[in-house]
Every structure is written in C-alpha cells, then in structure tokens.
Symmetry: C2
Subunit: 119 residues, 2 copies
C-alpha cells in the first residue's frame, strides 16, 4: 500500500483517509441526525448529548468543508443557521449504518443491552 498526500497530510491507506473525514467522536452523531432532517445549531446541540459548543462548531465546519453537509445562514436576529446533508453526505450514510450495526452486534455479543437501538 503506497502512501499518499492530501491537504498537507500523509496517509497510509484509504481507511485512514475515510476515517479522517468522518471519524472522531462527533462527526457520525452529527451525520446521523442531519441525514433525515434539517437542524438548527441549537437543535443539534440539544439532540446530541454531551457535545460542547467548541466541538459542535468545529466538527460542523469540517463536515461542511469536506462537502458532507450544507450550512444555511439567515440574516436575522437572534441568529439562525440551518444544517442539512448534501448528496455527498448521503453517500456516507450506508457506511455509518454498517458501523452502527456492527457495533450493536458486538455489544450484543458482550451482553450489553441493545433493545433501545432500532434496526
């Protein structure tokens, strides 16, 4: 597997590249909400337990820069911003679903209660 560069960073393989775009603690939870609904900033904040303003803003900005979500700012006061998934973002959803299902499978094997998670 040859290394390659993108945006000033060296990657060893495609998995690393993929995980650099949608990995981390918060990007998938964000995509998971936005996949079937438009959300305002404050709605995302409420919908995603434990997330801080700093992380919500930075991860939204990265997802936007990578083209996975769209940011619509309204010129009103108090401010209003809406986030929605893009066509490119929709391409990630089957994978997110697969990771989630795999996680549920593993949890089940370890005896973790999994009855809350729809399948």
């Amino acid at each position: 597997m040859p290394d390659f560069m993108y945006d000033g960073k060296v990657y060893y393989n495609p998995v690393e590249f993929a995980m650099d775009r949608i990995g981390g603690t918060w990007k998938i939870p964000i995509l998971w909400r936005v996949k079937d609904q438009v959300y305002r900033y404050s709605e995302l904040k409420r919908a995603i337990p434990h997330i801080s303003d700093k992380m919500l803003t930075s991860q939204l900005r990265e997802l936007q820069n990578d083209g996975f979500i769209h940011r619509e700012v309204y010129a009103v006061v108090p401010p209003k911003t809406e986030y929605s998934i893009t066509e490119k973002g929709k391409l990630a959803i089957p994978l997110v679903t697969a990771i989630r299902n795999f996680g549920i499978d593993l949890m089940e094997m370890e005896g973790v209660d999994v009855s809350h998670y729809g399948r």
Copy 2:
C-alpha cells in the same frame, strides 16, 4: 441514545463502541493482512509499513483480548508467534472492506490516484 458502560468506560453510542474495538491507526491494517493468511510477528512488521514494535504489540494484544485474532506461541528459540483471524474477527471484514471502499471513493472524488487499490 442512552449512554452505557463497558469495561469501565462510558460509551455514547454503538459506533463509538465499534470504533473503540477496530479503530485507531493500526488495527484495520493488521486485520486486513491476517484476514487471508497466518502471519508471524516479524512478517506483520514487514508487511505493514511504518508500524512500530510498540504499536504492533499493543494492537495485536487488544485485538486478541477482544477475540478478533488468535495468538499461537511456539516454544522455540528464537521465538515464533503466529497470528490468525478468528470467526469473530471475520465478522469485521465486510465492514473493513466497506470503509476501505468508501475511502477509495472519496479519494477518487478528490482526484487522488487510486489505481493501485484493487476493488
């Protein structure tokens, strides 16, 4: 999404749980070799560019503790240890493949040369 505990750690969702088992820089590259061949420690080291002894050992141990790979030690000198995938480990391969394919898709969209990666 309710939080849950496993092995002394709090998780927010199944994706986090899954990524805690097979995520990080080195676990997937290891699984990717071992999926269709038995490897000795030194063979893995040679097969996975850039990996350090410390990371190779620690990630092998974690994958073993989580039941994804099997470790067979031979009582010879110099030492010989063989690593192979388990049935549980095989369950992860379709997901690993999916992540890899998604990464290749993204790279292609960004104009990264992708011709080396079999599909």
